[in-house]
């Protein structure tokens, strides 16, 4: 996996467009969630910044170091640019504190990576209808009653479905207790 990353990265640095696309495709969701975490869900801003960030990488490809730890590099440099842009946009002065590169931040990267892997596999384990209620609830912020009205189902049905979906997520989370990392 890491070997694969390293070779995609090198050929991207040498100007290969399809490696660049592969990189973007592979890391899109990962960096999207990472960005939302730092801006507490400013999804539209994160989306644009992520696009800009990859364009920046593409334009700078000739000057990038060939030997990097790809995911770590992407996480830290995307975070730095995202927060800088956010600071500019919001005219914030003290953003330096947010762009933390200490050991603490290193720990944060590991924790994020572990959490992301859990969520990703948990979501994959959901059935389409379970996924739909999770989407309505977590993305569109609907209450159980609103979902029932929307889906023309009884509150009980929606309650059961949501309960099972969240139980499914919990099961995936439970398998590897993330709190051991703390």
């Amino acid at each position: 996996m890491m070997q694969e990353d390293a070779s995609i990265w090198r050929s991207f640095c040498e100007g290969d467009e399809s490696s660049f696309r592969d990189l973007y495709s592979k890391y899109y969701s990962y960096l999207f969630v990472w960005g939302c975490k730092w801006l507490d869900g400013e999804a539209a801003f994160v989306k644009d910044s992520l696009h800009d960030f990859f364009i920046y990488l593409w334009e700078k490809k000739g000057n990038l170091s060939r030997e990097v730890h790809v995911s770590r590099y992407l996480l830290t440099s995307f975070k730095r640019r995202l927060i800088e842009q956010w600071g500019k946009e919001r005219r914030l002065t003290d953003i330096a504190d947010l762009i933390d590169v200490s050991e603490e931040a290193d720990r944060e990267l590991e924790l994020f990576d572990a959490r992301y892997a859990l969520i990703q596999s948990a979501l994959q384990s959901l059935t389409p209808s379970q996924r739909e209620v999770i989407e309505l609830r977590f993305v569109h912020h609907k209450s159980l009653q609103e979902i029932a009205t929307l889906k023309k189902a009884s509150l009980r049905t929606v309650y059961n479905l949501t309960h099972r979906a969240i139980a499914q997520l919990r099961a995936a989370v439970g398998k590897k207790n993330i709190l051991f990392l703390w």
């Binding site: 999207f32 969630v33 869900g41 992520l50 364009i55 959490r115 993305v139 969240i166 207790n177 993330i178």
Partner: protein, 337 residues
Amino acid sequence: MDELTVDGLLQQPSFINYCIRANEQDVHFWEQWLRQHPAHTATFREAEAMVKSTGWLLIAEQEKAGAMTRMDDYLRSHTAKKPVMKPVYWWAAVAAVVAGLMVGQRYLHQAKQPSPVQPAILAKQLHYSAGSKGRSGFMLPDSTYVLLEKNSSLDIDSNYNVANRHVKLAGTGYFRIKGKASLPFDVQGAGYLVTALGTAFKMTAHPGRVHVMLEQGKVKVEQETGNQKKLLTYLQPMQSFASDSMNDNGKQQVFEPKALAAWKIQEIIFENTPLQEVVFQIESCYNVKINVEGMDINKETFSGKFRNDSLQSVLDVLCFAVNKQYEFTDETNVLIK
């Protein structure tokens, strides 16, 4: 709640409500609860992060296809460098041009989002055709541009851009291939096979005869009989190849760049065409590079008909319709903003 776990928190609908800010009471309750139980902060925050991240991942997965399309658009349109500005005063000529041109309907539809084409889920074979009324220009799923002459048709395989880039032509078409070294692009027609190696070319295939004009790159021309392929020639830019019968080895010639350029601009028709395609089509027909700034070219469409018009005329009308101005930044680069 002595042994607080992430799992325990996720079990409670009111905690989910707190995370997604769906219920004020629940938000208030959990905020207060956290103040009273500071020892559980880490667990609490982790559970909150799980819920929020799940939502964000779902959003990311919804956004991804659009983001990939947007990146492809960028890669396609921003490969040229930006040279020094040299303004051209477009408006001086526009009134005369608008009055004198054969412009059909010319209107804009705001916010018409073309749905991103996902090659991987393109399940059926596609058929494109241009009838007797006019030419048709379009883009294939891999962003290859095709200009089909009247009464011509093109069939593309269901596996196009996944397992192959194979198309079948009957009639005349101009192809500007989007480079993808791993999947060669080939056109089959009238028993001939033309394989492109990073290229723009025009091909005519009628039963028994073929004509190929190469504009850029390199193509390989082969004759197909059953499963047998016979190599006829490799063409260099501005070389053409014509063969009148399957028994003929064909004739290779050199042509004037003007000959192909004139054919391309004979007729260009846009009908509610997404601006992104309009730009690409103009680039292909006039061999220029166009950069558009300050508007989302995925969101607007353009309609208009041009016959043997100069690039300036086309740009005048286009820019008038989208309320922008253009500049030639050098001989082959145009900036619309």
